[in-house]
């Protein structure tokens, strides 16, 4: 097996934030963004961090890139101690953290790349050579010599991606790199990520889209409320479910009916994947869809639920998340925490 290139032990991070409400004195609230995370990432793998909004993905990445000092625990990156050898940790990384916001808008793309290359102690001639290579690799057109303020948001994201590659670092941290890209650009980026990985780069990739993690990653950690709740290859994770079948159901489904479906024999878990203008998409994990389907129809008819469609599906990483948490990935962890605070019960 390859060497452990990133090792995380008991890493935790607590934020203290002030809640401001009109004229009242701000109330202090602690947020445990990471709770004793243990993790090993191996040299040469594409490692996915999958989790809903507010799960703690960015916080973990910011700790590992030295932008935040963890509240507890330890970590090693490329053999360097995160807390004691900060600069060597930084020298080992290429980062795409804030998407397009990490660029100087008054500089051209080329000037940005050269500037950040210099900050990574890349010698001038290597920078020139690297920029030419990246222009080719990422199919950057004439826009490379325009100031970034004139870019489309897709072009900005590509430039931000190029920036993370300027120092040819052994480890790449990409925090939701495709989030504002269109489908084609996102697919191109994932293809290049794979290519870079073949060339030997280790890649840590966060996303809240399960298909991205499934398509791209060798191993995936599913993270929720600051904890890793599942870890393995996408296939392993799906196998671990004991879910043979999944059913997707769309229609006007009242909350009460969702609860009834959850409690049906043969149903492992059910959760709302999406809610839009009165239409709900429900994911149902079950042992055998053929046995469940007639019973499910009965329940739906009894409750006079209007159905748009019902279809059996293969289990995905999203379903892994649903089974582990009783919620769907698209549901915001932060929102949920708030609902809990209010005692509203949330969705689970």
């Amino acid at each position: 097996m390859a060497q452990a290139i990133i090792k995380v032990e008991n890493l935790s991070k607590t934020f203290i934030s002030k809640e401001r409400k009109k004229f009242l004195r701000p109330k202090k609230r602690t947020i445990e963004a990471l709770k004793d995370v243990d993790l090993t990432i191996y040299d040469g793998e594409i490692f996915g961090l999958l989790g809903p909004n507010g799960a703690g993905k960015t916080t973990l990445i910011k700790c590992l890139t030295t932008l935040l000092i963890p509240s507890g625990g330890a970590a090693w990156v490329n053999g360097f101690d995160l807390l004691k050898e900060e600069n060597m940790v930084r020298a080992s990384l290429g980062c795409m953290l804030m998407g397009e916001r990490g660029l100087y808008w008054k500089l051209t793309g080329r000037e940005n790349l050269d500037y950040f290359g210099a900050l990574y102690h890349v010698p001038k001639e290597k920078r020139v050579e690297r920029i030419t290579y990246l222009k080719e690799l990422l199919k950057m057109g004439e826009f490379i010599d325009r100031t970034v303020e004139t870019y489309s948001s897709g072009q900005k994201m590509i430039m931000a991606f190029a920036k993370s590659l300027i120092n040819n670092a052994p480890i790449l941290f990409l925090d939701e790199p495709t989030v504002t890209m269109d489908v084609h650009a996102a697919r191109d980026l994932r293809r290049i990520v794979k290519q870079l990985n073949k060339e030997g780069h280790t890649i840590v990739y966060t996303t809240h889209q399960m298909y991205e993690a499934e398509e791209l990653c060798d191993r995936v950690a599913i993270i929720d409320k600051g904890e890793i709740i599942a870890l393995g290859t996408p296939t392993e994770l799906k196998k671990s479910l004991n879910v043979k079948d999944a059913i997707e159901l769309e229609g006007a489904i009242p909350k009460g009916v969702v609860q009834i479906i959850k409690e049906m024999p043969g149903v492992i878990e059910a959760a709302i994947k999406e809610e839009k203008r009165g239409t709900t998409t429900l994911g149902i994990m079950c042992e055998n869809s053929r046995i469940i389907l007639p019973k499910l129809m009965e329940v739906l008819l009894e409750n006079e639920v209007q159905i748009e469609y019902i279809k059996p599906m293969d289990a995905t990483l999203e379903d892994v998340f649903i089974v582990k948490t009783g919620r769907a990935l698209s549901v915001d962890t932060a929102e949920l925490a708030k609902e809990k605070d209010r005692g509203a019960g949330g969705l689970d």
Binding site: Q3, I5, F15, I16, S17, D43, K62, T65, T66, L67, L68, I69, S71, N78, G79, F80, E85, N87, M88, R90, A91, S92, L93, G94, C95, L97, M98, R101, G102, L103, Y104, W105, K106, L107, E111, D114, Y115, F116, G117, A118, L119, Y120, H121, V122, P123, K124, K126, R130, T147, K163, I166, N167, N168, A169, P170, I171, G200, T202
Partner: protein
């Protein structure tokens, strides 16, 4: 220290690439400011406009029959109140540029979102801030010379008087403590982010205490003491004393210069210390990127 497991890519630490950090930051700053049209022009004319008010006031009083020059000479030692004002406002501008140097830079990087990108790089902070400082120094120097020369021309002031070399020395040494103060304000910006109102206020306080338009000897004792604990007060007075018939605070130029040297030794160390401590504190709490 163990070596890297998977190499370090193109990272090559050497004196040359370290200088590359410094020069790239310097270059980028000039490029960026040159792409904001009008910004340089503003900075050039600001001190002249700033000096114009008291000069015109003085001229209009003088034309009323009062001998402003003589009165001015009685309190300051020089009758050339125009030059006195122009030196005051030109050094004030240099002081402003230097004092807010680190703070303004941090604020800009915060708002543009590039601060984290810079902070996540392995470049030493002093090389990056060195580049930003180099830029500010060049700008401050050029602005000082241009505004002084232009102002002299506009207000008919004799450019070549007094000991210009000594004046230059006071400015150069006087910049060092300002640089230190700049780190303290940088730390402040890291903590409180939005500082425009504080900057505005401090700007007036500073211009009052460093005696931009009047000799601080007219201040009552305790206020004068506060004024004299500000390094820029010594710098302004030193420049005036070198060029005009104004006296040094300690009567001799080398004692005044020694005083500034003491400031120059203390403030940068203290400022950098405060800055680094604040940076760590931010990373322990909410991080650098918020704004």
């Amino acid at each position: 220290m163990a070596g890297p497991i998977a190499g370090l890519g193109y990272y090559e630490k050497s004196a040359r690439t370290s200088f590359g950090v410094f020069s790239s930051v310097l270059k980028a700053r000039f490029r960026i400011v040159s792409r904001y049209k009008g910004a340089l022009l503003m900075e050039l004319f600001m001190p002249i406009v700033f000096a114009a008010l008291p000069i015109l006031l003085g001229v209009s009083i003088a034309s009323g029959g009062v001998d402003v020059g003589q009165n001015w000479k009685d309190t300051t030692g020089t009758a050339d109140f125009k030059a006195y004002m122009l030196i005051g406002s030109s050094t004030f501008m240099v002081v402003m540029l230097m004092t807010w140097l680190v703070g303004f830079w941090l604020r800009r990087e915060m708002v543009s979102g590039t601060l984290e990108s810079v902070w996540v790089s392995p470049a030493k902070k002093y090389l990056i801030i060195g580049g930003v400082t180099g830029y500010a120094l060049i700008r401050a120097f050029v602005a000082f010379v241009l505004s002084f020369v232009l102002g002299s021309f506009v207000f008919g002031i004799n450019l070549f008087q007094g000991n210009m070399l000594m004046a230059a020395m006071f400015i150069l040494v006087g910049l060092l403590p300002l640089w230190g103060i700049s780190f303290m304000f940088g730390a402040l910006i890291l903590r409180i982010k939005e500082a425009d109102s504080i900057i505005n206020l401090l700007q007036w306080v500073l211009s009052f205490f460093m005696g931009v338009f009047f000799p601080i000897t007219v201040l009552p004792g305790f206020l004068r003491l506060i004024a004299q604990s500000f390094p820029p007060t010594w710098m302004t007075n030193g420049v005036r004393a070198a060029l005009l018939d104004v006296s040094f605070f300690f009567e001799t130029w080398y004692l005044d210069l020694a005083m500034i040297l003491v400031f120059a030794a203390v403030f940068p160390l203290m400022g950098y210390g405060i800055f680094i401590a604040t940076e760590r504190r931010m990373k322990k709490t909410q991080g650098m990127g918020m704004y």
